[in-house]
Symmetry: C2
Subunit: 342 residues, 2 copies
């Protein structure tokens, strides 16, 4: 790990609104991540293309192969390696439904930083166990992600630890952007015409838009949310921020109830389209991915494929990047999905 890279502040001047990060921030994040992560594969499955039809070719980014089984390890490592020595000594606190928390916990364990993760009451217990296994303290508080954020802020105040917001942090968004940077480079000569990407808080999608703006301005980026947690989707279509009273989806990775300060304006400016997918459609996509590719994905990890099926007319004949963004589905839920109870 190179000390100079760690202490480089985000390039705020160049990141004029509505673009919270610059391409240089992404390159810097990639430098910081390089000692800890190797690029994940970008693969092509003829059986998935046959299922989709229309001559569309899906290129699958295997973030399910990451150490914490989720792209969020990029965000956590980008955050923790971006802290100053003084900040590291204070420890970090995050709120998460699991994958951001695992990413932060894993990164903190590698760098010897104390981590506390706030999760909603009744959250996926397997994600909690994984966070603890990386040495983090796990605090269950709040009825959903947005309420856990309150616990995080209180603990940060009480303990003096550094807040690691899962979206509203330039280091986090820059970390997520390294994924799209890899994808675009790996797609090579044929390139990518479009990316279909899950939106929880927006780190993946704003990361993709930032990288695309620099490297492939014609790339179309489509957002996707769960139909039961459509706050950012609705805000995008209405061009005004709206909140929802509940986030009602088994895909806890995207179970948010409002747009986020750092990402919302960029999504409004940059996304080509924005769709939603029901939990039934997500469950079907999980079964399809298992059957045709033998990869395990969680709800949020199936959003790309489920949304690509929904957008098939717009994607006809295109080379489309889709991310298996995470695999941390709990086994009880997986059983219900295989039994077609969902």
């Amino acid at each position: 790990m190179s000390a100079p890279a760690i202490h480089t502040p985000m390039n705020l001047e160049a990141a004029s609104p509505p673009w919270p990060i610059t391409f240089d921030d992404v390159l810097a994040a990639r430098e910081r991540l390089a000692p800890y992560l190797t690029p994940t594969a970008l693969r092509h499955y003829p059986l998935l293309d046959d299922h989709l039809g229309g001559g569309t070719s899906l290129l699958i980014k295997h973030e399910n192969h990451q150490p914490t089984c989720s792209f969020k390890v990029r965000n956590g490592l980008s955050f923790v390696t971006g802290l100053t020595a003084e900040e590291r000594a204070r420890g970090v606190v995050a709120a998460s439904t699991g994958n951001h928390g695992q990413g932060v916990a894993y990164a903190a364990s590698l760098l010897g930083v104390r981590a506390t993760i706030c999760v909603p009451v009744g959250n996926n217990p397997e994600k909690g166990a994984a966070m603890r296994s990386w040495g983090a303290k796990v605090v269950e508080e709040g009825r959903d992600y947005d309420e856990s954020v309150g616990a995080m802020l209180r603990i940060a105040k009480e303990e003096g630890s550094v807040v690691s917001h899962s979206t509203n942090d330039r280091r986090v968004v820059s970390g997520a952007a390294t994924m799209s940077l890899e994808m675009i480079e790996q797609a090579g000569g044929g390139g990518l015409d479009a990316i279909v990407i899950a939106v929880g808080g927006g780190s993946q999608s704003v990361g993709a838009l930032t990288v695309a703006r620099e490297l492939t301005p014609k790339l179309e980026v489509f957002g996707a949310q769960a139909a039961g947690a459509p706050a950012i989707h609705d805000s995008w279509h209405q061009r005004t921020p709206v909140q929802t009273p509940r986030a009602d989806t088994f895909a806890e990775g995207v179970a948010t109830r409002q747009p986020y300060a750092l990402t919302y304006a960029t999504l409004c400016e940059g996304l080509e389209g924005f769709t939603t997918v029901t939990d039934a459609e997500l469950a079907e996509a999980i079964r399809l991915i298992l059957k045709l590719t033998h990869n395990l994905v969680e709800g949020a990890g199936a959003l790309g494929v489920a949304a690509a099926l929904k957008l098939k007319d717009q994607l006809r004949g295109k080379r489309v990047g889709v991310i298996f963004s995470g695999a941390n589905i709990d086994t009880t839920l997986l059983r219900r999905i295989l039994n077609r109870e969902i």
Copy 2:
């Protein structure tokens, strides 16, 4: 791909019986594979160690992340890249319950070689679909793997194609050995004290023994078979080759009924121990791996963990390499396992 490496014949002189391949063969295979495969991760899951107990530390080799979701892609690529131009022009034929066939089909598609794969009647249909998706012709014949071998030999005679035996081929065993070479190198300073490895035909285990003999002679290699397909296990314990009338396990990747000419003597000489695992124990290991690591493995892919649980007293306090060797479980079987019907 470097032409000289392709045409290098196996180093038969140096490979004195009972060692069918040399360490140089493994290095040559790694060279041939390098343009097509990147090393898979070797990872540590504290939750798995906690479950195992006894201070044993499992290091997991993620062959489930390979392009065909199985280590057999190494074998297939080592085989096809090791063919002469004349052999490639004739096309290849293999017998397989699926993973060797996928490896050969995938390799053949990359190198523009015609491939036919013989599978048992009623074989895992998802594996057959994957083979076809890589452009192979799939022939269903025989009641199990060993009977499909007969179909392979007949087709080779009829069509003049080159036989790709899943075990009795030095290129295949050398390909499998590259996995252990990577593991031992990746384990680094702490090294490995033992490897627990699934035995179907023996390519993985003989590969491990060959590499260990060169690099870490004290490494203990333990073999594991399914209790319902224990022919090689029984032969090892009785020190005489025995066949079984049936191969009765859901782990089709290790459903063999006899020892193989190229690997049996090496197993007799090299293995530290050899155990079996029931299908119920395999099913439990699949559930455990899903819950604690969120990785999908098929029956053969869970053999290492299941056997490590069985051998826990002998593995106490050791650093133990275990391979998630494949993920191509069919979804109907996975559902039954999650429902605890197995």
